[in-house]
Every structure is written in structure tokens, then in C-alpha cells.
């Protein structure tokens, strides 16, 4: 029988893709992994969480993105690395599998869900790879230790650091796919860069993929694209408003469950998360379809807060926001919390500070206390030079963090509420709306 690790499909399969045109699959292992239930579940998880409530095209899923990352890594290996002495071709399959499966552990509305239940999607990706799952069954057919190898790449503990860097570094296949894909589906004009050029000039080195000096301008463009996408799309204040409400729904349902509240629609899928007894099966069973079904039915719950928050999320009645400077205004926040309570509006659910922060590129130089592996340029003489030392554009934004704080609140409750009108007016004037 042919070795499963090198078994090829009788004919190459292709997936039509709006970003990469085609995604090519020749390996039987990859084809089998795509067909597993855990991978198919990714169709039911939005790539950009609540962003579809702002950019209506952003309905794409983690499934699309995962195939895209796989395709980029396949092209790096087959077109740029193959045959070069620093690349070990026996790492090809483990790298492709890790690329395809790197997001397997994302939960529904990933970040909000992780925040409320204190979870880590990367750990769940590893648990799915190693647990009693269809994915594990496929990987185990390659060899007994193969699932562990793929999990180690995802966990960044794989001995070959070059392999890890293709999936997770400051210029990796994950970012290259999501920037372009998210730009395409949101319809924004940022996020585009010359990936073809980057792939052509990418070279393997001992610890990471490096970029030939001649590709520096393409990398500058990539970094600026990332910078713009974060502030124009990923940190959009309206999409953060939806995420704030989502977090509060899950927190409210958890509190009600702990208090013994009798739900009309019992949260059976969440029970084990509320009391922290969940297992892998419970985790895999959740997706965004299930969450949305609960949210729709919870609109009819007797608990006014849960009902209101679900109605806001499902029908896009989002919170209003103002800029907030925690350094100068933290006392004002305390005052507002008191006034909200007096007005009968629970500030725990209806007055929320949300912060977003991004560091577009950071560098590490030996001896410094920073934590990121930089992008290296391969100079003509074979020397490696850190990118910001060569590029004025990258140097200008290196290590510079940009942070944005917003204070979210339900303006309609303050303007339309009939009781305690004076108090509500006072709150509105403090909020300066």
C-alpha cells in the first residue's frame, strides 16, 4: 500500500477562490482533512466576528481563510523554497497541515467567547489535533506522532523554527491571507499589497523565512496595509459596539445561570461553559448558528437585560460611543456608574470602556527586552539586516503603539426613558451627546 504521507489524488482538485483565484490540492491528506467535521465547522464561524454588522460584505468564514493560508504556504514551499539547501522537504506535509488547520480551535465570535469564558483558541486547536476527532484520525494515518508534530507547529514549539515562522511571525501566510481576504470581502481599498512579489523574494533561512533585499518595498507596502486595515476595519468603533454587546449577553446569561434563573430556552449548549466542566465535544458543538439561535429565542426571556441585549445584537440596535481618555476621565467613569445605577440602568451591562491597540511592526535587537522576532532582509552579500534599519518608512512606525479608547452606552435608553428624566439628562450632558 502506498505511504499515506505521499499519496497524491489521481487528479488535482481546485477550489475557486476570490483572493488567490484557485487553491490547489494534490495531497490525499489535505483533501481528507478538508472533509473532516471539525474543518467543515469553520464554515459556521465568521472570519471577522461582528464586522459584518458594519461592512455587510464581511460574511466570509474561517473556512475560506484557512484554505487561503494553506494555498500561500503551498506556493512558498513548492515555488520558492523547494530545492534550496536551507529547506528540508520532509517538512512539507507538516507545514501544509499546520497552515490548513491553524484556526481550527476558534470558537463562535472568537474573541468575545474567549474573553467571557477565559479560553484560548490556540490551545483548542491543539486539543482538536490531539483528541478523539476526525482530524486526529486523518493525521494519525500519516504516523503515530504526526498529530503531535502539527500541534507543536501551532504551539510554536516545533524544533524547525523556519516551519513555525511560515505560520506565525510578523510576515506569515496567516497575515498575508487575512489582509487581502478581509479587504476583498469588506470592500475597502486598503489591505492590498504585492504578495506575488513577496513570495518570489522569500527565502528559507535557519530560523525564519527572510526576504531578499530587492523585495523591501513590497514588504513596506504589506506593513502599511496591515496598519491601515487595523484602524479602518478591525478596530472599527461600530463593530466594537456589537462585540461589547455580545460579551455582555454571554456574561448576563452566565450570571443568570449561576443565580438559578429559569430560562424559557435553557442554555444547554452553554451549561458546561458556565460551570467550567466543558470538554472537547462541547466546544466543537458550538458555532455561530447555535449562538444566534439562542440570541433570537432569548429576546423573549423575562430577564429584561438579557432580552434587551439580545434584541440589540440581533436587530443591530448598537450602543453609542464617545472617545474616552482613561488617564483623565477615570473619575468621570465612577461618577457615571453611580448615576446609571440611580437611573435604574445597570452599568455592568450598559456602560463599557473598550480599548483597541496595535503595534504595526516591532523589532528585536540582541540584548533588548522586546519579544518579537523581526523581519529580516537578505542582503546581496548574504548578511541579514533587520527591516527597520534599511527602510525609513518602516523605521517611522516601528515600535509605535496606537491605542484608542471608547466609552459605550445605550443612548436610546437615556433619551427615550420616561422615568427619572432629569437624571438621564444629567448623564447625557456628562457624556456630552
Amino acid at each position: 500500500m502506498m505511504d499515506y504521507a505521499i499519496q497524491k489524488l489521481s487528479e488535482e482538485k481546485v477550489f475557486k477562490d476570490p483572493v488567490h483565484r484557485y487553491i490547489h490540492v494534490r495531497d490525499q491528506v489535505i483533501w481528507d482533512l478538508i472533509a473532516t467535521r471539525e474543518f467543515q465547522r469553520l464554515r459556521r464561524i465568521h472570519q471577522l466576528g461582528t464586522t459584518y454588522l458594519v461592512f455587510h460584505g464581511a460574511e466570509h468564514s474561517r473556512f475560506n481563510h484557512s484554505l487561503g493560508v494553506y494555498e500561500i504556504v503551498r506556493r512558498i514551499i513548492d515555488d520558492s523554497f523547494s530545492g534550496r539547501p536551507q529547506w528540508n522537504d520532509s517538512e512539507r506535509l507538516v507545514t501544509l497541515c499546520a497552515a490548513l488547520l491553524h484556526d481550527l480551535g476558534h470558537g463562535p465570535f472568537s474573541h468575545a467567547f474567549e474573553k467571557v469564558f477565559d479560553l484560548d483558541h490556540e490551545q483548542f486547536t491543539q486539543r482538536i489535533l490531539l483528541g478523539d476527532t476526525d482530524v486526529n484520525a486523518v493525521l494519525s494515518r500519516v504516523s503515530e506522532d504526526f498529530p503531535r508534530k502539527v500541534a507543536d507547529v501551532i504551539g510554536k514549539t516545533y524544533p524547525d523554527k523556519l516551519v513555525v515562522s511560515l505560520i506565525s511571525s510578523q510576515i506569515d501566510a496567516d497575515r498575508m491571507d487575512y489582509l487581502q481576504r478581509d479587504a476583498y470581502f469588506t470592500g475597502v481599498s486598503y489591505g492590498h499589497f504585492d504578495m506575488e512579489r513577496i513570495l518570489r523574494v522569500m527565502r528559507p533561512s535557519e530560523e525564519q523565512a527572510v526576504i531578499k533585499q530587492s523585495g523591501m518595498h513590497a514588504v513596506e507596502d504589506y506593513i502599511m496595509s496591515r496598519y491601515q486595515m487595523y484602524w479602518q476595519v478591525y478596530f472599527h468603533p461600530v463593530s466594537r459596539s456589537a462585540e461589547v454587546i455580545l460579551v455582555k449577553i454571554l456574561q448576563r446569561a452566565k450570571v443568570l445561570s449561576e443565580e438559578g434563573y429559569r430560562f424559557k430556552q435553557e442554555p444547554v449548549h452553554f451549561k458546561s461553559f458556565f460551570d467550567k466542566t466543558f470538554d472537547l465535544k462541547d466546544y466543537i458543538a458550538l458555532d455561530e448558528y447555535i449562538l444566534m439561535t439562542y440570541f433570537e429565542t432569548w429576546i423573549l426571556e423575562d430577564d429584561e437585560i438579557l432580552s434587551d441585549l439580545c434584541d440589540r445584537f440581533v436587530n443591530r440596535r448598537l450602543f453609542q460611543y464617545i472617545d474616552f481618555n482613561p488617564a483623565k476621565e477615570y473619575r468621570k467613569l465612577g461618577e457615571l456608574e453611580g448615576l446609571f445605577r440611580k437611573a435604574g440602568i445597570d452599568p455592568e451591562y450598559y456602560l463599557v470602556v473598550d480599548s483597541s491597540s496595535d503595534l504595526p511592526y516591532d523589532f528585536y535587537r540582541p540584548g533588548e527586552e522586546e519579544e518579537r522576532l523581526p523581519i529580516h532582509l537578505l542582503m546581496r552579500d548574504g548578511e541579514l539586516r533587520e527591516l527597520s534599519r534599511e527602510s525609513d518608512i518602516v523605521d517611522a512606525i516601528s515600535g509605535k503603539r496606537r491605542t484608542d479608547h471608547k466609552l459605550y452606552f445605550p443612548e436610546d435608553m437615556l433619551t427615550e426613558g420616561k422615568k427619572k428624566k432629569m437624571l438621564r439628562q444629567q448623564i447625557l450632558s456628562i457624556l456630552n451627546t
Binding site: 490556540e122 482613561p326 467613569l333
Partner: protein, 168 residues
């Protein structure tokens, strides 16, 4: 009200200041692994477990004037130290009570070098694995630091001491 910010200020106050960004990162991680209620998410980075959220929170606290950051040029690198300001002490005046034993744990960690805390935190990152596998993982991800068997033993015994101090 900004409870997570307050916890970080309390932490640095209990330590009577912390020298080194890396050291502070590792101390908070180890405290979190000892079940003290810190919410910052950690991932494995260059120097072991690292939290972008904690970095951000510290920057915000410095901006707010609750923490003071001092930098010292050490020749080949810059070392940062953090202390609580007078405004910071006012800020934590109304915060939730400090968990029992946190101060003692912080005191024990502060006495140790950042290299040692890097080892302890990385071992704890893999604490779901058997001891031998934990050690093997550390040797893979920290292959350039060449931790010795004696250092490994000492790190495990330190983890035991911290856990014992909390149980008392």
C-alpha cells in the same frame, strides 16, 4: 471600574517596584498560574509566556500617571523599571482587596533573576505535560539559553514553594 488596571498597580505596589519589563511579564504570568485573578491573555513568545494585553495596560497606566517608568541605558540594551506614583496609590485606594498571599508570592519572585523567572514561567506554560516533557519543551524553545539540570531542579522546587506558600 478599571479593575484590571487596578490589579496591576496593586501588584507593582506590593512588589515595591519592579525592574525589567521581562521580569514583570513573567511575575504576573507566574501569579496567574498560581490562580491569582489576573485576566491578561498570554502566548508563547521569544522569552516565554508574554502578554500583549499586559504591555498595553502598563503603557496606559504610565500615561494615566499611576505608574512611573524609568529607563536605564545598560550599554547593549535599555532596562525599564516601574513604580507606583502618589496618584497611583490614590487610584488603588478604592480597589478590591488584594488576594491573600499575593504579596508573599511577589516577594519570593522579586528576589529571583529574570532568567530564572523566564525558565519558571516557560515550565509553567507546559504544566499540562509530564515533567520530562516539560523539560524537553523548554530545551526546544529556549535552545540558546542552555538551562542546566540544576536550574531545572531549582525551578521545579521554586514552583513547589510558591504552591505551598499559597496552600498555607
Amino acid at each position: 471600574m478599571l479593575q484590571e488596571h487596578a490589579k496591576v498597580v496593586q501588584f507593582i505596589s506590593l512588589a515595591d517596584g519592579v525592574t525589567g519589563r521581562k521580569k514583570l511579564q513573567k511575575m504576573v504570568y507566574i501569579a496567574k498560574k498560581m490562580n491569582f485573578p489576573f485576566q491578561e491573555k498570554y502566548q508563547l513568545h521569544f522569552y516565554g509566556p508574554y502578554s500583549e494585553e499586559l504591555t498595553l495596560r502598563i503603557e496606559e497606566l504610565c500615561e494615566m500617571g499611576f505608574l512611573a517608568e524609568n529607563s536605564e541605558d545598560k550599554g547593549s540594551y535599555v532596562q525599564y523599571s516601574y513604580s507606583v506614583t502618589g496618584e497611583g496609590r490614590d487610584f488603588i485606594g478604592d480597589a478590591e482587596e488584594v488576594p491573600d498571599k499575593l504579596g508573599e508570592c511577589i516577594g519570593r519572585m522579586k528576589e529571583r533573576s529574570s532568567r530564572f523567572l523566564e525558565l519558571v514561567s516557560t515550565l509553567l506554560y507546559f504544566d499540562h505535560l509530564p515533567r520530562e516533557e516539560q523539560i524537553a519543551k523548554v530545551h526546544i524553545v529556549k535552545n540558546k539559553l542552555n538551562f542546566t539540570d540544576a536550574e531545572m531542579d531549582e525551578a521545579f522546587s521554586f514552583i513547589g514553594e510558591l504552591a505551598g506558600c499559597i496552600r498555607q
